[in-house]
Symmetry: C2
């Protein structure tokens, strides 16, 4: 049985995932977001792309059966199970020092998911400039059809909800326990994940 | 007075824009999209970012007064005039061979805006892997609030409508007359632009 690994609040990690392996991302306490980005392990210039994925899906909300495409229009991951109410975000970039400075007005901002991902991918030789819009597991972003207004609302996940992906190529994946208060209903919680064959 | 330059249907170009210069993108016949991407001229690893921009704007529809941010959260361009009904898209990547293969089922697909941008930025030493989601001037993409369904509808621009940007840093800009039938109301038309100090 696969080990469950915990990502402590406001941190992140990176790991490799082989083609065919499954990654389960778990929200152990509920109402917590996990940012996921993915790179082709053999050529990290190939990276997950929200624009390609949303265009081909013709939907901003993705769930079981939906492929996540790269900037080269190859499928990197596929969602194979979605044990949540089905709300994840693929519009926004990882929260960062600048997010906290611009949106929250913080004077001494946390490095956010962006900084956590940057630190986690550095050992793989990938620059922070390569960090794209993340697939934000469990993140509850609504769009008003008329005005186009975006709202970041508390996730609608319950404790133990999860989403499962299968890798469609050999990957480097970075994953966080999100650091933005607004995204997580006002408190920071851990994220868990497990990898299985 | 600034010269008006025409981009012929289904092609693209790239040019430099100095900090403080203004770029006007014109839809001379109406109902035509123009994909715009921008790179920091002194460090092309810095590139326009839809995720940063939409997050900071809290809106998917951008118009006069809105800044367009880079992946490093710096303002690259600002929209200073919007002589259109105010509908532009910043969700989708440039149409490409893969777009035409996956969405249209084309057997011998056109290279699309992606191929046109790739060719135009190559002389500046920028790889096609660096092409991000474009700011799609005049593109009419709607999002259903409930289902998240995206629809690419004909632009609502009239002949002569335009949008004007000011450069907030020295830039390389790529600009197209979009190659996707669905985005342009079923026919391919030119785009015009002019640069002024």
């Amino acid at each position: 049985m696969a080990d469950t690994i915990e990502i402590t609040p406001r941190t992140g990690t990176a790991f490799t995932l082989n083609k065919g392996q499954r990654l389960t991302v778990i929200d152990p306490k509920g109402v917590q977001v996990s940012d996921l980005v993915a790179f082709n392990r053999h050529d990290p210039e190939e990276v997950i792309s929200n624009g390609r994925t949303l265009d081909y899906a013709s939907r901003i909300y993705l769930t079981t059966g939906d492929p996540l495409y790269s900037n080269r229009s190859n499928v990197m991951l596929k969602i194979v199970a979605d044990n949540t109410p089905g709300k994840h975000d693929f519009l926004l970039t990882p929260c960062s020092k600048d997010t906290f400075r611009i949106i929250y007005g913080d004077k001494d901002p946390h490095q956010g998911c962006f900084g956590n991902i940057a630190g986690a991918i550095e050992p793989y030789g990938i620059s922070s400039d390569r960090i794209p819009c993340a697939f934000n597991c469990f993140m509850n972003v609504t769009v008003d059809s008329d005005s186009g207004e975006l709202k970041v609302l508390p996730p609608i996940t319950k404790a133990g909800d999860s989403i499962e992906f299968v890798a469609e190529m050999d990957l480097i994946v970075a994953l966080t326990a999100c650091s933005a208060l607004q995204s997580n209903g006002g408190s920071f919680k851990p994220i868990q994940y497990k990898i299985s064959d």
